[in-house]
């Protein structure tokens, strides 16, 4: 390699993630990315090809850290405690930043109709893996659920997290989201 890249790729992708998280794949422009990263538009095209390629890299980074955090949150305690930690993580994740950034996966999912198969696949992968993590977590503690029941319940729980992401966009506060999550956990797990 001879002419050497003038920017740090990891740093670039991390900054791009921030931009995509705040604006979404569709609304973030190459201008936005260039301005935020300090890398010229032309260089970005040269290095990555197009906006979507940058997004996919950024999203992969996001998905990895998100699933990691979910896994950690789901690791300890009884089922209720695991879910409390899990929902806490999710809610903090989506209500962080000024203004709040919301949930990138959910935002990306909503643009499915105008997204490429690659992007759609990424969203499905995150949700599938999240279902698996939740399924394992609620099966890990002593209970009288069948595996099939646990899987169905895991999907319900993941679906509910998506609902929280929508409610956040609709203006519900962190506190309101937490209350709903608590109510949900109590209703679903409380006496099972």
């Amino acid at each position: 390699m001879v002419g050497v890249r003038q920017f740090d790729e990891d740093e670039m992708i991390a900054t791009a993630l921030d931009v995509f998280w705040r604006k979404g794949l569709h609304d973030a422009t190459m201008q936005d990315l260039a301005a935020a990263t300090g890398v010229q538009r032309g260089s970005l095209y040269n290095a990555y090809g197009d906006k979507e390629a940058i997004f996919l890299r950024a999203f992969d980074q996001y998905a990895a850290q998100f699933l990691d955090a979910a896994s950690s949150a789901l690791a300890q305690g009884d089922t209720s405690a695991r879910l409390r930690d899990f929902f806490d993580m999710i809610i903090v994740n989506m209500t962080d930043g000024t203004p709040q950034r919301g949930c990138l996966t959910t935002r990306t999912a909503l643009d499915a109709a105008i997204s490429s198969p690659d992007v759609r696949q990424r969203v499905q992968d995150v949700l599938t893996r999240l279902e698996q993590l939740v399924g394992k977590a609620i099966s890990a503690t002593p209970n009288r659920r069948s595996t099939a029941d646990a899987n169905r319940l895991a999907r319900v729980i993941v679906t509910f997290t998506r609902g929280l992401a929508v409610m956040e966009r609709a203006g519900y506060s962190r506190k309101q989201l937490r209350e709903s999550a608590t109510t949900f956990i109590d209703a679903v797990i409380g006496d099972a």
Copy 2:
């Protein structure tokens, strides 16, 4: 009135709703609206001012019919039956059309960051009124819930419907959504 409008306003708004439902406020263009309605762009600007004004009218029509359908679905039977009908209506609503149109309220909510206060308010109003309808419905049958509990539960139920809307966008089938809704109802209401 002298120069007379060449198109039927109700029909025009109904067609506009279809366009917005399929493409979203942001992605639908005045070209799209002009093509679908057969009314020239200039005439639309003359009649309504801008795209958002058309959207607001279309959304109001959508919200009215949606809340009406929800109200009907929630009217009869015990709590489980009411919720089954309610979720059925919601799921059919979002999985209808080819390709599926999804949920307009949810799609609009996700664009909150780039929407006007008027648009955001419309979304909040729909969700608030939906919570009220659900709250009334689950309080209508004999049960041992306090009003406060019913309201919290109503919000959880509405939040779950939003989750279903996201899952639909992520590619889950009508059947999968129905199964999740059933599991949810059983878990939340089944033995309360």
